[in-house]
Symmetry: C2
Subunit: 409 residues, 2 copies
């Protein structure tokens, strides 16, 4: 991922070069100084100087000798992903989670807050602050906080402008609440866009610079990386695929639009589907369940081979496929990665999605678009919150490592 | 616009700095060396050296003294947009146009080829080649050719994969036919994306780095610039808004998808609308007219105050509005600029588009999204083909100006 800040003017050249070396090691694993020189175009002298300082601060480490070209041995360098840690916060509608991650996306601890109701929103914000302050006080390795919030989120103002069924979240100004609150820098990003960053930084992919993360859970959204650029829009409301209409004469949405995809395949839409005539009884005690609990029960039954449950999963898949088709013509990513609660429906869902997409998309495009389920070890939005912070570290390391940018040290 | 090539390694630093100075003068008009230094961060010595060479080659010129800060007088510099010219080619379904443009998007000549039928496609390609070769031979100011082609266009392979109602265009490999054919470099881009470049380089806009050009003519597509990045996708098939479905149960499209926007508001769709029961007679001699001719007649009648014609224009506007809403949630541009044949319906169309968008889009987003008609003096796709070539010149000037990159000269 390239970032605006990497278009540095000569005054920040040393930071730019530092970032390029760290970024290369992050993506390429153990490498020699010669390999770094070849990839970055920096001189051997510059690399010796910069890597010495990065080693001093523990950002990278030497790994012993490795085989070089022409059998010459050289010393390997690698990114030291466990030296620094970040706090990741996932805000979903009813679910708030906090994780502690290293800079490669491995979580060392995850904390679930109790399910949030509309009236608990203000209180949960206080609890999150308290938890983070305590974590930073007790863990000096923590250098940043990353947060993932549902959209449409106005990044410039710091507020969510519509949250289906949980309108209280609109009252929270995330920028005001969090960005000046902690002893370390805090970064806030849209949830699906965070997921795309996580897939790009931490996931398996065909091309880290061309992928869409398709979040389908309590909300529906997408994050798209197009040739190194995380598509954001003028105010941070781009790639809101959940509010791109699939049927201009369809179901009205709380946002004011009609036929929003979110109305057809979010967890809430699935619960409503299970309440329809003919579908009663597929999930027992349905009324008492939260939508995400109803989905989990449904997917368990589908996995166990229940034909009726599988029929519903395929019906959900149809809408997921329509979303994929809109993503293909909208963004033409090399890969679409489906994640969050609905992705737990597994291959029954994925196979049907691929089948319907193949029916409706031009063969040349179908061939060059992989559609997969997320493979991240933890939830992509929570990992995404970590990725939001980690990507800032890769881009601007001296901001997080005290003293590293002081030329006299 | 930033480009991948501007992320230069030190070996191309002189070209990068040259490009930054030209780009600054292109966008900011007459400026002093001090203003350039302030904006680019380059030293006075570097600017003196680079501008001297650019003046030698006529790329920029001195304009005499101008008022500087603290009333100090300094010499103004400006981009010399008429020193070099480009050939622009617009390929639409039935219409091929060639224009000669200066680097600021002013056309000095425009040539229309006769209407193309499916069986003329191969012949028209030969005619275009012949025309361009003759123009280059007789006009030494021409330094590049830019071409705009309808999509979905696989930029890597050089071919269009679907063209509603004109399938012969699929048989042409534009890369093979044109990129090695002329004495000057040739660049090919998707038509709507070319239009976005033209709006960004040559048009009036609130923000050249955040806009969508919404092409609605014989085909329907979009080009989107998101924070300096022209969204392209992995194969050049992004922002194909004409094949983003607005109704998954709607009209089947030749591409295999269902409910594609192109099926509702392209010129062909408008002609079909005029043939529907109840609409007969609004445009006379309809059957004999090409779709674009039928549209022009309809818009003339609407402009003259005919209520029935205005009713049809508002019906078209409804679908254009649905496209705008999908563009807003898909890309969140600061501005949507509607262009090509359907934009000729003027304010009757625009007012209705704005009305419907306001009904369905969240007020915060509506407020920060301007919707306008294209203001370019010539067709945005033809200007766009010129912009494709001009943007390459701004990015990599020494490729087009023989000798400029030779350090010993």
């Amino acid at each position: 991922m390239k970032h605006a800040a990497s278009e540095g003017t000569p005054s920040s050249m040393s930071e730019l070069n530092r970032s390029r070396i760290i970024d290369f090691l992050f993506h390429h694993g153990v490498s020699s100084r010669a390999q770094i020189a070849k990839a970055t175009g920096l001189t051997a002298a510059a690399i010796t100087k910069i890597t010495a300082r990065l080693i001093d601060y523990g950002v990278i480490i030497e790994t012993g000798t490795m085989e070089g070209a022409l059998n010459r041995r050289s010393i390997g360098l690698k990114f030291n992903d466990s030296q620094y840690q970040v706090i990741a916060v996932k805000f979903a509608r009813s679910l708030v989670q906090i994780g502690i991650f290293d800079l490669s996306g491995h979580s060392t601890a995850i904390h679930d807050f109790p399910s949030v109701n509309n009236e608990d929103v203000v209180d949960i914000v206080s609890q999150v602050k308290e938890f983070i302050n305590r974590a930073i006080e007790t863990n000096p390795a923590i250098v940043a906080v990353g947060m993932a919030v549902p959209g449409p989120y106005l990044a410039d103002e710091g507020r969510i402008i519509s949250v289906t069924s949980m309108q209280m979240w609109k009252e929270i100004n995330f920028k005001d609440e969090f960005t000046q609150t902690f002893a370390v820098p805090t970064f806030i990003e849209h949830d699906a866009r965070s997921g795309a960053l996580a897939q790009s930084l931490f996931g398996m992919h065909t091309d880290e610079n061309s992928l869409a993360y398709f979040l389908i859970g309590e909300g529906v959204g997408a994050g798209v990386i197009d040739r190194d650029n995380l598509i954001s829009g003028s105010r941070g409301v781009a790639t809101e695929i959940g509010h791109v209409s699939i049927d201009v004469n369809g179901r009205p949405c709380e946002c004011g639009n009609v036929g929003c995809l979110e109305r057809y395949c979010s967890t809430g839409a699935v619960k409503a589907m299970l309440q329809e005539p003919g579908n009663e009884g597929i999930v027992e005690d349905l009324e008492a369940l939260l939508p995400r609990e109803a989905c989990k029960r449904l997917f368990q039954k589908s996995d166990a081979g229940d034909a009726e449950a599988q029929r519903i999963v395929r019906e959900i898949a149809r809408y997921v496929a329509y979303g994929c088709i809109n993503i293909i013509y909208g963004y033409n990513p090399g890969q679409i990665i489906i994640g969050d609660i609905i992705a737990e429906a597994g291959n029954t869902l994925l196979d049907e999605v691929r089948r319907i997409v193949a029916e409706r998309v031009l063969p040349d495009l179908m061939k060059s678009t992989a559609i997969e389920l997320s493979d991240l070890p933890t939830d992509a939005t929570l990992s995404g919150a970590a990725a939001v912070a980690a990507s800032q570290f890769l881009r601007n390391p001296s901001r997080f490592v005290a003293g590293m940018d002081n030329p006299r040290q």
